[in-house]
Structure formats: C-alpha cells, structure tokens
Symmetry: C2
Subunit: 138 residues, 2 copies
C-alpha cells in the first residue's frame, strides 16, 4: 500500500468511485494483473464498473507514470503498480509467473552510440526468461 489514491488526488486526477476502486485494486496487490483481472477485482467492490472504464483508468495511470504496462508475451498486457522504482521483469517460460528484478547498472549503458542510429534513446525494457523452481522440477 503506498497511498496511490492520495498521490493521484494531489495531482488533480478527478476522483470517481470507479477510478478509486481501480487504483485501490492496483495499490493493494503488488502482483501483475491483467486488465480483466483488474476488472474482476474492481467489480467485486463496486458491481457496476464497465470494462471501458477500467481500460480508460489503466491507460491514464500508465500515462501518469504510476503504473507500468508489461507485455511479456503476445497475450494480455499486465499492469505493474510498482512503476515508481525502475525495475525489470523475470518471466517463467513454463507457468508465466512474473517477478520484479533489479539488474546491476543501467541497461542503456550497454548500447553504444554507434548502435543507436541517431535515435534519442530514452529507456530499455528487459525481460529475462527462464524456468521458475517449480517448473524446473517438473
């Protein structure tokens, strides 16, 4: 819990019951939920929340930098509420489990100017892939 709702209010985010519920769902569980999972948990608290509203709220939280979108496969995007501290992701190729990890150094440092082709490079998303202990054992 990190008072996401308070930060959003302070930044002038118009607060509605629906947006509050979405923010609380994300702030409460630091796992990587899909939009549908967010919708399910939001609906449990506030029955009449529409899918479109959840997508809208998630999109705005991403734009505000409070939540990160994680796309580890071609399936549903996942939403990571721990966006304020830079980190990367470790994904199990077996079961899909996702963990936040903190690699040494800045990944951008590994990309020399000669490999930037004139781009203004602003960030790097790293997905480490492997098998989690449970899937290794099988």
């Amino acid at each position: 819990m990190s008072d996401l709702v308070g930060r959003l209010r302070a930044r002038g985010w118009r607060m509605t019951a629906q947006r509050r519920v979405v923010a609380e769902v994300l702030d409460g569980e630091h796992v990587h939920l899909t939009a549908d999972e967010v919708l399910a948990r939001a609906t449990a608290r506030l029955p009449e929340v529409s899918r479109a509203t959840v997508y809208n709220a998630l999109g705005e939280l991403v734009a505000l930098g409070e939540v990160a979108e994680v796309t580890t496969d071609g399936r549903a995007k996942r939403y990571d509420p721990n966006a304020r501290r830079p980190h990367q992701h470790l994904v199990c190729s077996g079961c899909g489990e996702i963990r936040d990890v903190h690699p040494d150094g800045d990944p951008l440092a590994a990309l020399p100017a000669s490999e930037r082709f004139g781009f203004a490079v602003s960030g790097a998303d790293v997905v480490y892939r492997g098998l989690c202990p449970a899937c290794v054992a099988m």
Copy 2:
C-alpha cells in the same frame, strides 16, 4: 538471402509450396514483418495460401529457432528472420520503426544470482525505446 529453405530442408522440414513461399518471404526481406504482412507477400506469390498455414509455418520456424518473435507493443507480433545471430531491438515510440541492435556484453550478466529467485535463467529480451531521427525532428 541466407538459404533458409536449404537449411530447413536439411533439417527434415517437410517442404510444401506454401512453406517454401513463407520461408522465402522471410529470407528475402530482413525487416520485421507482422503475420498479416507475411500473408500478404506470400499471397502475392502463391494466391491460395491460407492464414492458418502462415501462422502454422511461422510457429514452426520459431520453434526451430530460425525466426524470432518480437513483441514490442501489445499489437501484432513481428517475425525477425535474423534469429541466428543474437541481437536486441530498438523501437521508435513515434512511428514504431524497429531496428536490430547489438549491445555490449551479455544482458544476463547484469542479473546477479540474488535477483534470480532460483530461476534457471536462459535468456533476456531487451527493447530499447526512443525516437528515431524523423520523429525527433517533428
């Protein structure tokens, strides 16, 4: 051109007119095509190729390690025929252009054992994000 068809045949990949066309499309243009773009180019050479066949062939080429799947956004997967040499990707946040890049060192080296949580880590996909020269100028 790198004789992808020859390599596949040598590996016992059952060759059909449709599979050959898909392989030739990928081998000919070293850009990052979506499945639909592969289908369009394949159809131009062999009018009666079905979508399912293109997806099947792409899936097998990925499984064989001859082609890499690249997912840079939540949209369509792209297929990278340059999978035999390890590389990463640089994506323009403005126009979506994708370039192959070769960072220094092995990205796995940046992940210490204490951040691996018992996973058997086998690889890392890095997506560098930024603006290409054309999009910076706008």
